[in-house]
């Protein structure tokens, strides 16, 4: 179950980062569209969770499968600071393991934390740091196996 794209969106829903594994010649535009439409699903999920009835439950950042399309599955993860991570996987024959996706999101979140701690990174701008790129490439590699 190969991860083919990773995206990070700011709390105002600006794209901070979008990277594709680029194994096939898929245009980036398709992934941008996928990620954008998934934002609506994320917002919906986030608003239902934070409704007054369920304030007792701890907010879990992992949002799970947002929606499946014909070729891809889109997963979401929203932090308490409204920063959202989106991962797109291929609909291959092998089963997508939920635990693996959770693991990858945790890695992404940790990498994002490191980016934030860089004094030269302005929050809300594009992420260009090498440490983050390394983690994303790592996820693309690992998910291929």
């Amino acid at each position: 179950m190969a991860v083919v794209a990773v995206a990070v969106m700011s709390k105002q829903n600006f794209p901070l980062y979008l990277k594709t594994a680029n194994t096939k010649a898929e245009p980036d535009l398709q992934f941008q569209y996928l990620v954008h439409t998934s934002l609506d699903v994320i917002d919906e999920k986030v608003s239902t969770i934070s409704s007054p009835k369920v304030t007792n439950d701890p907010r879990e950042p992992y949002l799970g499968l947002l929606y499946p399309s014909e070729e891809y599955k889109v997963y979401g993860y929203a932090t308490n600071t409204r920063v959202k991570f989106v991962m797109v996987t291929e609909n291959s024959s092998s089963q997508s393991k939920d635990s693996k996706i959770r693991e990858y999101f945790k890695e992404l979140h940790d990498a994002y934390k490191s980016v934030l701690c860089n004094p030269f990174y302005t929050p809300g701008t594009n992420i260009k740091m090498k440490s983050f790129e390394r983690v994303v490439s790592g996820i693309f590699q690992k998910s291929k196996e």
Binding site: S114, V115, C117, N118, P119, F120, M129, K130, S131
Partner: protein
């Protein structure tokens, strides 16, 4: 039974103390990062920023050495530059930065040496921006060493030979003995 309870309380207390120290380490790195980022915004050239960091370090060093000497009353006088290097690395760096650099590359006259740092606590999450290639992020350390040694009558020149933030393998600071300072303490930084 009373002693057992007391021991538990004491262990918990020291664990809390350790955690406090760990948290303030991160805060320290973030604070230093904010300082450098602000300097980068305030000043035009990398050279000027490096100079400011060195100046700040100097002002810290001249005060820090008093605290250091007060804490380490057991240390005797250093009779040669070699022992100065040892104390600087094994006691000075250890006390304030929590790391012990390796002393290396002494020159023939025993007047110059390097401090090699495997780990630099100041640069934990830092990546240098591309438009500042000459920035010496940790230059404050050079100033601190210079200021501290000046207060014990040693005039030294301190500079960076290698910087892992710039892609070098390690971080290496060079310390060179210029002269012994006799009589009056020289005027502060202009």
């Amino acid at each position: 039974r009373f002693f057992f309870f007391f021991e538990m309380a004491r262990q918990q207390h020291s664990r809390v103390q350790q955690d406090l120290r760990k948290v303030s380490g991160e805060l320290f790195s973030l604070t230093y990062g904010a300082l450098v980022a602000q300097l980068v915004r305030d000043y035009e050239s990398d050279e000027e920023i490096n100079r400011q960091l060195d100046k700040m370090g100097y002002n810290i060093g001249i005060r820090l050495v008093e605290d250091f000497l007060a804490r380490n009353v057991g240390l005797g006088r250093c009779y040669d530059f070699k022992s100065t290097a040892e104390v600087l690395a094994k006691n000075g760096f250890k006390t304030f930065l929590g790391v012990v650099p390796t002393i290396a590359n002494w020159d023939q006259k025993q007047e110059e040496f390097s401090l090699v740092l495997e780990q630099n606590p100041l640069t934990d999450f830092v990546e240098l921006p591309e438009d500042h290639p000459e920035l010496l992020y940790s230059n404050i350390i050079c100033g601190v060493i210079r200021g501290a040694l000046e207060m014990v009558q040693l005039d030294v020149k301190v500079w960076f030979l290698q910087d892992s933030l710039k892609g070098d393998e390690t971080t290496e600071i060079r310390v060179k003995f210029i002269r012994k300072l006799e009589d009056a303490v020289p005027a502060g930084e202009d």
